[in-house]
């Protein structure tokens, strides 16, 4: 990788990306990043660049790529507005711990601070939402900065990093040499977890009467094998809840899995968390959407908290047994420890497991499948018509996202990409494109809402240009549905500024205008036809699923309420009895 003759900073960036094994990047050129794009065309290299229609798209594509593949995603933008358009994906990647490297052009060094054309202090703007960032004012620092950037993005708790490169730095020639090792004195992420704590955790788990395994997104990011997670759950025979970010980390179809907890989680999952005597948190962060009212959350539980980020320990909930380390290392050791201690007799928690399973059986996610077409039905048909195939799902944010989380069954990690912490509408389309670029062999389906879809739908042009055949399903109720749901339930049905209209735009014609097929379904009988056509067309395409705008996501924990107290529609059986009992 070392160059005999001097190369420019711009070419050096390409060599750095090559050295990091990057094969695909997403970006859009502009004035201050022109030298890099010039080098892109002039140099010999094999990195594919996907030209996006909006830099936010580039950022989310890098995220989708990273989360589908486990590699680091790369997004490129110019200075000023190009860079600020990356702010949303950076914030999203920060909250959901997604490793991306953002490269931005900056005005020439002598112009910095003069309010020059397209100047923005992007390092300053993004400081609270990056894992780290650099403004490279000396070209000789570029190789070291790239080496550090990729290392920081992918290790420890992954996250976004930003490299801001002034135009003149891109143009300056220097003798390039890529460092083999990285040395960052202030950055030494913990790996192994304290052995004594792990043993203590194993003993506590086996002694517990009502343990619950609370698996979070860290179980995906850490690369811990699913087999090891299953070993832990099996050894203790305990129920497993998987948060929105963890869907697929533990198989939905596994008999111990009780799925999604939190605001729109299952009753079984929320009750299991609230009634347990030991909560085993694994790469989870006690987010308010999971816990509801924190003081009332899991009141009788001791907590084991395993996380690579020490700042998560005791942040929201005190842990009695904290274990700081990478789950990749901690979980196998915990599994060994549990297996060596289990005495072969029936686990203490058998009765508890039976209770939780009974809750799960009695309170499944359900809806009344009547006309008008129900969104849940569309998602169930997507699930059934792709069963047994390798599917990666992405979503936007809102009702459709929650229905997808409730009704899809995902058995493998990195098959479910959704914006959780930031709740970024518009994530679905570009994330699906990025995922399909990273995993062209997989079926990629974006379950989107009409509000979300309109935020990033211009990236259909990117999809069409490169033939990136992800399927985009617009669960179209013509409203900002989740906001509408809150207005209906908590704001006396004052539907303030939430009506979008289902025909605006016409999504089939819109797809056709991008040169890709569009399919529409308005009744239950039309759903399979549309999905089958989309799966068979072999191109990027759009399904416009016209659904009932009054359908709501249930159960629901109102914001700030205890998570054991869920509201639900009245079913024939009196299934709200638990609420009244005050679980």
């Amino acid at each position: 990788m070392d160059s005999e003759t001097p190369i420019t900073g711009a070419e050096a960036i390409i060599r750095c990306l090559e050295a990091e094994g990057v094969t695909d990047v997403f970006g859009l050129p502009g004035g201050a990043i022109l030298p890099l794009y010039d080098a892109w065309a002039a140099c010999d290299h094999t990195i594919r660049h996907y030209l996006v229609r909006h830099e936010q798209g580039a950022g989310h594509m890098a995220q989708g790529y990273a989360r589908a593949t486990g590699k680091v995603g790369v997004a490129i933008a110019t200075s000023g507005p190009g860079a600020t358009n990356l702010v949303t994906p950076i914030a999203d990647a920060y909250l959901d711990s997604t490793p991306i490297v953002c490269i931005t052009g900056q005005v020439q060094t002598h112009l910095i601070g003069t309010d020059a054309f397209q100047e923005a202090d992007i390092q300053g703007i993004t400081m609270p939402i990056v894992k780290h960032s650099w403004l490279v004012d000396d070209v000789r620092d570029l190789p070291r900065v790239f080496k550090e950037a990729f290392h920081i993005a992918r290790t420890g708790r992954p996250g976004p990093v930003l490299i801001d490169v002034p135009k003149d730095v891109q143009l300056t020639p220097f003798a390039f040499s890529y460092p083999k090792q990285v040395d960052i004195p202030g950055y030494k992420p913990s790996k192994h977890g304290h052995p004594r704590q792990i043993i203590q955790a194993a003993e506590a788990i086996l002694a517990a009467e009502r343990p619950t395994f609370y698996v979070g997104g860290g179980a995906v990011h850490s690369g811990v094998s699913q087999e090891d997670l299953i070993r832990v759950a099996d050894a203790a025979q305990m129920p497993v809840v998987t948060t929105l970010q963890a869907k697929g980390a533990f198989p939905d179809s596994h008999p111990l899995c009780i799925g999604l907890p939190g605001m729109h989680g299952s009753k079984a999952a929320n009750w299991a968390m609230n009634r347990c005597d030991l909560l085993i948190a694994c790469g989870a962060r006690f987010d308010d959407r999971v816990t509801g009212k924190l003081d009332a959350f899991a009141p009788g539980a001791k907590v084991i908290h395993m996380d690579v980020d020490p700042a998560e320990i005791d942040k929201n909930r005190q842990a009695q047994i904290p274990i700081v380390g990478s789950l990749e290392h901690v979980i196998p050791k915990l599994a060994d420890s549990l297996e060596s201690r289990a005495n072969g007799g029936p686990p203490r928690a058998a009765e508890w497991l039976a209770t939780v399973r009974e809750w799960k059986r009695e309170h499944p996610f359900r809806y009344r499948n009547t006309e008008p077409l129900k969104p849940e039905f569309v998602i169930e048909r997507l699930r059934e018509l792709t069963r047994g195939q390798d599917v990666i799902w992405t979503t936007g944010v809102g009702q459709h996202q929650m229905w997808a989380a409730q009704y899809l069954e995902i058995d493998l990690p990195r098959r479910w990409l959704t914006s959780g912490g930031a709740g970024t509408m518009g994530y679905g389309v570009p994330a699906a494109i990025g995922a399909k670029v990273g995993r062209p062999d997989a079926i990629v389906i974006n379950i989107d809402g009409d509000g979300c879809f309109q935020m990033t739908m211009q990236e259909l042009a990117t999809a069409r240009m490169y033939g990136i055949a992800a399927i985009h399903v617009v669960v179209n109720n013509g409203w900002l549905g989740m906001v509408r749901q809150w207005q209906e339930l908590f704001h006396d049905e004052r539907f303030s500024e939430t009506l979008f209209e289902p025909d605006l735009p016409d999504y089939v014609k819109l797809a056709e205008s991008f040169g890709i097929p569009g399919f529409r379904c308005e009744q239950t009988g039309e759903v399979d036809v549309a999905i089958t056509a989309a799966l068979e067309c072999g191109q990027p395409c759009v399904i416009d699923a016209r659904v009932d705008h009054e359908e709501k996501v249930y159960p629901m924990v109102p914001a700030g309420a205890p998570s054991a107290e869920m509201i639900d529609i009245a079913w024939a059986e009196d299934d709200n009895a638990w609420v009244e009992e005050g679980v």
Partner: protein, 170 residues
């Protein structure tokens, strides 16, 4: 109020103070005083910060600081640490009251750094408590301007490391 003094050793890089100060602001930690300067090693700076931990645990503050890549070490300084602060104080002083004011200031080992027709300016290096006492004593004469650096602090010899919260490395 639940004040803690943190001594933060950082890489001397552009933006490092912004990163630390920004962290305090966005996580809702209230800063009482802050002083920053280079250390015996020019590649490193030390930020001494007084933080009100009424809302959050000092433990959480330290862990969040450790997440910043440029932060090398965070120490919480105890009661026994040497804490000093510099104050400049301009006191109204007609010529006839000058001797009285100056002799009062001498009790606090304050030095006269400027004398004008109607005011005397003192510098005083002392513990924050004593500076407070000096300020209160000068109040009746009329304080025209006052500036304090924010405290800087070091653990006493032998104390170092005892209260150091080392990075959790397993």
């Amino acid at each position: 109020m639940n004040m803690h003094t943190l001594s933060i050793l950082v890489q001397n890089r552009p933006g490092v103070l912004t990163r630390c100060a920004g962290l305090f602001a966005r996580r809702g930690f209230n800063i009482d005083s802050l002083a920053v300067g280079r250390t015996e090693d020019p590649s490193r700076s030390r930020i001494t910060i007084r933080v009100d931990c009424a809302q959050h645990s000092v433990d959480q503050v330290q862990k969040q600081l450790y997440k910043l890549i440029d932060v090398l070490k965070v120490q919480e300084l105890g009661q026994s640490a040497v804490e000093l602060e510099l104050m400049l104080l301009k006191v109204t002083s007609a010529p006839e009251r000058r001797p009285e004011i100056i002799s009062l200031a001498e009790v606090f080992e304050a030095k006269v750094v400027d004398v004008g027709p109607q005011a005397v300016t003192f510098s005083c290096v002392s513990s924050p408590d004593r500076l407070q006492a000096l300020e209160e004593l000068m109040e009746p004469y009329g304080i025209r301007e006052l500036v304090r650096t924010g405290r800087i602090a070091l653990d006493r010899d032998g104390e170092l490391g005892r209260r150091t919260r080392m990075r959790v490395v397993a």
